[in-house]
């Protein structure tokens, strides 16, 4: 495939960043917005073309004779050569997941660009301050995210991983006047940075033992039955394999080197994907503008961790221990986030916890994926859920954005009963809720069902656990839905105009995403994305019993939510009174933030930084100053000898003379 298109996919957003970033101040707001949308629109078209070429052209570059999909390096430029073998390249790797991610990212990004045209101005049409900057950052983010998914080697991924983090930082802190936004952006960056430290160390360990950064070489070989599917020479594959066979021997704290490397890399993923215990930044990140939350903190960046594990999946298969850690981190996070989501008041927080929970679903799905279980269904399910989740979660966030824009508050207590005022928002939001709850035929049903099937194939415990979480998901989403749109009639205050639906720039993305959420479930995803490239017909393996159970759970949960929240009634209060401890803990997110505050402020800041600074100023510097002081004191002490008092000199002279004379006399005697 010609490299022009892929290069343009990366170059257009980057160029747009520079244009808007450098010249944005000189432009009118509208021009900047249109430019941004145009740029992203072009990228969208290019990305779609690329993805379609990959999936449907049937070119031998992409598909082998047996119909297996291949990895294709479109281009791979040396960027920085550490050694002969360890080279960072900037390239474009096209394979099923990267092609899928191209579609997801550009779609959501374009929707958000469009939506922001409406969102980033108030009811009187006055543009938000720093609008151009906003679009510049959006373009930067899109560039980084696209670079991340098409990375050909783990270091390119790390580079864009960092860039994504930085653009997320800039966007969360977009309202930089607000101290809460500033601290949220700082928190997000530092937490993910901490996770990236693990990622980096993982990369170092991995590259030390394998001598390569390239995904094609890292992932091609280790598992039997995979070599030859992806286009990598057998010799490289063999070398990587032998390296791990031999060096899996060094054991550190009970884990092999590979396990450690993979767990550390997964730590990077935990940070970006907000998995327990590194999830604390994501709820706070909602301080950013809502379109940003939709793009970065729901659909694209936060799934980077999932994508990372998927990218290195063959390596993870070598170390089942690592995969189990992945599974349980995911499972615990999913349950935790779902419980917390049931008690939050801020609608964006609810969505944020729901995002954490859903990402954990994907992670669990990857964790339970094994080649022997439904031919690696979990992998495909995870990617499928990533895809559908991106769509419906972006939809929900954009819907929430529309509500916030209309009401001017994040609190559902300020909303209630909005269904009449904002019909489009209402219906699209409902579709989003149905999709996430997993109601047939909306997209979430299919992806979640596949995840549950693969869980069941691996371990019953995980299956039951995740089903319960799925039920909770349906419950809290409908709780949110009812509290926003039903509960009681909305009171319009005097002097305020009634909330209403938005301009077309905001509604259009909602409608499109809702439509996608309705139909995406029917995409034969197994034909496109599987762990080894071989097509997998999901419908042929469809497990109706699992589907029925999950459907029942979801419906029951929705029913419960309906009973509790459709009309104003005392039931929620009773529930709350029934288990006050659980409610309080969940409401305070199980005090994770406080714990972190304690660790960072009390222990690290006051316990390490301050003593070190003190030590430096007083001990080290004190020692240096002490040298000076001692010198000074010594010279002060001997200064009287040079007092200029001749009589003193004579004294000394006399003493010396007497001593000399005495000695001479003694000698002579």
């Amino acid at each position: 495939m010609d490299a022009t298109l892929p290069i343009l996919i990366l170059a257009i957003p980057l160029g747009m960043f520079f244009v808007l970033g450098l010249a944005g101040v000189k432009m009118s707001h509208r021009l900047a917005g249109i430019l941004g949308c145009l740029g992203m629109g072009t990228t969208l078209v290019l990305a779609y073309t690329t993805a379609f070429t990959y999936f449907f052209s049937g070119s031998p570059e992409f598909v082998d004779a047996a119909g297996n999909r291949l990895q294709a390096l479109i281009f791979d430029q040396t960027w920085l050569a550490f050694t002969d073998k360890l080279v960072i390249r900037i390239g474009f790797l096209l394979d099923p997941i990267s092609a899928m991610m191209l579609v997801v990212i550009t779609t959501i990004s374009f929707m958000v660009h469009l939506y922001s045209m409406g969102y980033m101005r108030d009811h009187h049409g006055v543009w938000e301050r720093g609008f151009q900057r906003f679009y510049a950052f959006l373009s930067l983010f899109s560039f980084s995210m696209l670079g991340l998914v098409v990375a050909t080697n783990i270091f390119q991924m790390y580079i864009f991983w960092e860039l994504v983090g930085a653009s997320s930082y800039l966007l969360i802190g977009f309202y930089f006047i607000k101290p809460s936004a500033v601290s949220a952006s700082k928190k997000a960056f530092i937490v993910t940075r901490f996770a990236d430290l693990g990622f980096l160390i993982g990369i170092l360990i991995l590259s030390f033992y394998t001598g390569t950064f390239n995904f094609t070489e890292l992932t091609s070989a280790p598992v039997e039955g995979l070599a030859g599917v992806f286009s990598v020479s057998e010799t490289t594959a063999e070398s990587v394999r032998s390296i791990f066979r031999s060096s899996a021997a060094p054991v550190f704290l009970g884990g092999s080197v590979l396990t450690w490397a993979l767990v550390l890399i997964f730590m990077g993923g935990m940070g970006k994907s907000a998995l327990l215990p590194l999830h604390i930044w994501l709820p706070d990140a909602m301080e950013g503008p809502t379109p940003v939350s939709a793009l970065i903190h729901a659909a694209t960046m936060v799934v980077a961790g999932v994508y990372l594990v998927a990218r290195l999946f063959p390596l993870y298969l070598m170390e089942v221990t690592a995969l189990e850690i992945v599974t349980w981190v995911g499972a615990i996070t999913a349950l935790y986030a779902a419980i917390v989501a049931c008690t939050q008041i801020d609608i964006k927080r609810v969505l944020a916890f729901s995002t954490i929970s859903q990402i954990a679903f994907m992670v669990v799905s990857l964790g339970v994926a094994r080649p022997e279980v439904h031919e690696g269904l979990g992998y495909m399910a995870s990617m499928f859920h990533l895809f559908t989740h991106a769509m419906f979660k972006a939809l929900l966030f954009l819907g929430a954005g529309a509500l916030i824009h209309a009401i001017g508050s994040n609190d559902y207590t300020a909303m209630h009963g909005l269904r009449k005022y904002m019909p489009v928002t209402h219906w699209t939001f409902l579709i989003g809720c149905l999709a996430i709850a997993g109601i047939i035929p909306f997209s979430g049903f299919f992806s979640k069902d596949e995840i549950l099937s693969s869980c069941l194939g691996n371990s019953t415990l995980v299956y039951i656990w995740m089903s319960a979480v799925a039920g909770l998901t349906a419950f809290y989403m409908f709780r949110l839905y009812y509290l926003i749109f039903w509960w009681k009639e909305h009171k319009v205050h005097e002097g305020h105009h009634a909330p209403h639906d938005q301009p077309w720039t905001m509604t259009l993305p909602l409608v499109i995403l809702a439509a996608v959420s309705c139909v995406a479930g029917f995409i034969p995803f197994g034909n496109f994305v599987t762990w080894n490239g071989a097509p997998y017909d999901f419908m042929a393996h469809f497990d109706w019993s699992v589907a029925a159970v999950s459907l029942c759970v979801a419906l029951a949960a929705i029913g419960l939510a309906t009973v509790m929240y459709r009309k104003e009634n005392p039931l929620p209060e009773k529930f709350r009174a029934a288990m006050p401890a659980l409610w309080t803990w969940a409401h305070h997110r199980f005090y994770w933030d406080e714990l972190y505050m304690f660790i960072t402020h009390r222990i690290i800041f006051n316990g390490i930084c301050r003593p070190i600074a003190w030590f430096d100023r007083h001990i080290i510097d004190g020692t240096m100053d002490a040298f000076a002081t001692v010198t000074n004191k010594a010279s002060q002490a001997i200064k009287p000898l040079q007092s200029g008092q001749v009589q003193l000199y004579v004294w000394w002279y006399l003493l010396g003379a007497l001593a000399l004379g005495g000695i001479t006399m003694l000698c002579l005697l």
Partner: protein, 97 residues
């Protein structure tokens, strides 16, 4: 024989030099010491090498230099007195550091 009074004179000079605070008194003590030494030179010359004249000349020059030195010292003292109204060595330490 003549060395004994010279020696005592010298010791008086030392005593005066150490104990006195007045600059002129110090100078006087200094003159005492100088004189004692001069006498020694002359005596040694006369008693040990009566044919030579080095000792005498040494004394001669020493007297000349002593005169110069005293004149200068007194000029300085008067000058100091003018600016400080005082010629006590303990108080004149402004130039010290």
């Amino acid at each position: 024989m003549l060395l004994i009074p010279a020696m005592i004179m010298f010791c008086c000079g030392v005593y005066g030099f150490i104990t006195r605070r007045n600059m002129i008194a110090i100078l006087i003590s200094l003159e005492l010491m100088l004189n004692a030494v001069d006498i020694n030179f002359a005596v040694f010359n006369r008693y040990l090498w009566p044919d030579a004249m080095e000792g005498m000349f040494f004394t001669l020059f020493a007297i000349a230099i002593a005169a110069a030195e005293t004149a200068l010292a007194i000029a300085i003292i008067i000058n100091l007195y003018r600016s400080a109204r005082n010629i006590d060595v303990r108080d004149l330490n402004k130039l010290k550091y």
